[in-house]
């Protein structure tokens, strides 16, 4: 890539990115970039490769072809990644507070203590997600929605310039969604880049200025209102459903750029 000097370089750029598992591609020849500080939703039918793409951005999946470029030199440790399923062992003897405080890892590492200021920030994060009354409770003894609040608080403490959220609102109630969405808006206002895989198109239209519509390849990428048009959504659904019958093995060719 030629070194272009831009006043505001993108946080990341997809360069002919092809992703998959066991050599079976799930995302084909993706191009495009994500502007720094943008609030981007990734939507698409089931099996469209949305979570796969997020995993690759988090650095946990090596591309089959192409690559992800980081014009701002972001390191893997600077990315906060909220996976779809909590990877935590809920049987572990740990309080909600301890769990949330793990978000400080980048600052305290394995050995340093937690100073007064950091204690205060942990408490502030607990308050921000409304878990004050539950902070001494074992992490295995809270509800799904409360656990999701705790995971958001941990992301909050990670203080990461890039936040990845994989279906953060699956199976939680409306009030929790409202509170957590407010937190996401706050992150956006602070200038962080947030990329979220989402299903609820209404929520995306209300909250996310930018959208990437994915159906194993890029269907559309840009302003949410433009991207989520009837025609684009129909095309995404066709690509997702037609693939299994007409094209059992995905054909990998250099596809022309589409809007």
């Amino acid at each position: 890539m030629p070194a272009t000097v831009s006043p505001n370089p993108p946080v990341l750029r997809f360069d002919n990115l092809t992703l998959g598992y066991n050599r079976h591609p799930a995302v084909h020849h993706l191009r495009g970039e994500v502007a720094t500080g943008s609030l981007l939703a990734i939507v698409g039918p089931n099996g469209a490769g949305k979570s796969t793409l997020l995993k690759a951005i988090a650095g946990e999946l090596r591309p089959l072809q192409g690559r992800i470029e980081w014009p701002r030199g972001l390191r893997r440790q600077q990315i906060a990644y909220l996976t779809q399923q909590a990877t935590l062992d809920l049987g572990f003897p740990m309080t909600v507070r301890d769990f949330i405080a793990l978000g400080l890892w980048r600052e305290i590492g394995a050995f340093a203590g937690v100073d007064r200021d950091q204690q205060r920030r942990v408490d502030a994060a607990i308050d921000a997600v409304g878990l004050r009354g539950l902070r001494e409770r074992p992490i295995g003894a809270v509800s799904g929605g409360q656990l999701q609040r705790a995971r958001f608080a941990r992301v909050l403490l990670q203080d990461a310039p890039l936040v990845l959220l994989d279906e953060p609102y699956g199976a939680i109630d409306a009030e929790t969604v409202r509170d957590l969405a407010a937190l996401v808006r706050h992150w956006h206002a602070e200038g962080r880049t947030v990329i979220a895989v989402l299903h609820d198109l209404e929520h995306v239209r209300q909250e996310y200025p930018q959208t990437l519509l994915l159906a194993r390849e890029r269907v559309a990428h840009g302003d949410t209102a433009t991207v989520l048009s009837e025609a684009n959504l129909r095309r995404a659904a066709e690509l997702a459903s037609g693939r299994g019958e007409r094209r059992p093995a995905p054909v990998c060719q250099a596809t022309p750029e589409d809007a």
């Binding site: 893997r76 935590l88 003897p93 301890d98 793990l102 890892w105 394995a110 409770r137």
Partner: protein
């Protein structure tokens, strides 16, 4: 005062006999070193893996024995090497083949146990075999005692330094891999710690009992404590109390010491199951406990 000490039934055996004092010191070292490692083993859901690993120590120790007889350094080095080899092999096989980790460990455990018993019977008598399988806590010499104390000190030090690392590797390894480059260190560091403590336990309690002083106090303590700090402390206390009681039972009732200690620990586990606030019966006695903050 000094005249009455030896007459107290709980103290008399230790005041009177050097081998009882040595046994107690050995158990103290194991309780401080091996039991906290056992707590992490339990929290990683690797209790059975620990059992399999303890058998993996056997053929290594047996080869040491074949070469040098009942020699402490030879059996220790053999045990350490064999244990580490199996820890790495078993993990690698489950990662790179269709064989699951539990099956992989079971195959190594079966191979190890039969190979170990075979190697020892090539040279020794049944007495030697009993010594290897059930240990000889009542016959600890100076060198073995120093080895146990050394391993326990090393283990405590490493665990204290890496406590946060080991804890996160237990509860959320994916998160650890994301935020830290030390994740492989935590994994293999723990495996080394485990093998070191299994070899220590092997000298005192034998290969069949070594895991007992790791897992039983940990499981019992889990029924009393909801956070890691108290859990570690209570597990060590239970291990100390259990080994003291086991030694006394073995002295007064003329029982083999290793099994007496492990059985006592087992009884304390059953007691915790019945009485512990996190046990299955606690909810019945205190309805509504779960709803308190």
């Amino acid at each position: 005062m000094n005249d009455t000490l030896p007459t107290l039934p709980l103290l008399a055996p230790f005041v009177e006999f050097g081998f009882m004092r040595r046994a107690l010191a050995g158990c103290l070292a194991l309780s401080l070193g091996a039991t906290p490692v056992g707590v992490f083993l339990m929290l990683r859901r690797m209790s059975l893996a620990g059992d399999a690993m303890s058998h993996a120590v056997l053929p290594g120790a047996a080869i040491g024995y074949l070469i040098a007889g009942l020699s402490l350094p030879a059996m220790t080095i053999g045990g350490l090497l064999a244990g580490l080899a199996v820890a790495i092999l078993a993990g690698g096989i489950s990662r790179h083949t269709v064989i699951r980790e539990d099956t992989s460990l079971a195959t190594f455990y079966l191979l190890s146990l039969s190979a170990g018993v075979l190697i020892i019977s090539l040279r020794g008598s049944n007495v030697d075999l009993l010594h290897v399988l059930f240990g000889s806590v009542l016959a600890l010499d100076d060198a073995t005692l120093l080895l146990l104390a050394g391993f326990a000190s090393l283990s405590l030090l490493v665990l204290a330094l890496g406590l946060r690392l080991f804890a996160l590797e237990c509860c959320d390894p994916a998160f650890l891999a994301r935020v830290s480059r030390l994740a492989p260190l935590a994994h293999y560091g723990f495996m080394i710690l485990l093998v070191v403590n299994l070899v220590a336990g092997f000298h005192a309690l034998g290969t069949l009992m070594a895991v007992g002083i790791m897992i039983l106090p940990a499981a019992a303590a889990r029924l009393w404590a909801g956070t890691l700090g108290p859990l570690l402390l209570i597990a060590v206390l239970i291990a100390l109390l259990g080994s003291l009681t086991g030694l006394l039972l073995s002295y007064y009732l003329n029982l083999p010491a290793g099994p007496a200690i492990v059985l006592t620990l087992g009884a304390m586990y059953l007691l915790s199951l019945a009485l512990g606030p996190l046990g299955p019966l606690a909810g019945r006695w205190r309805a509504g406990w779960h709803f308190e903050h």
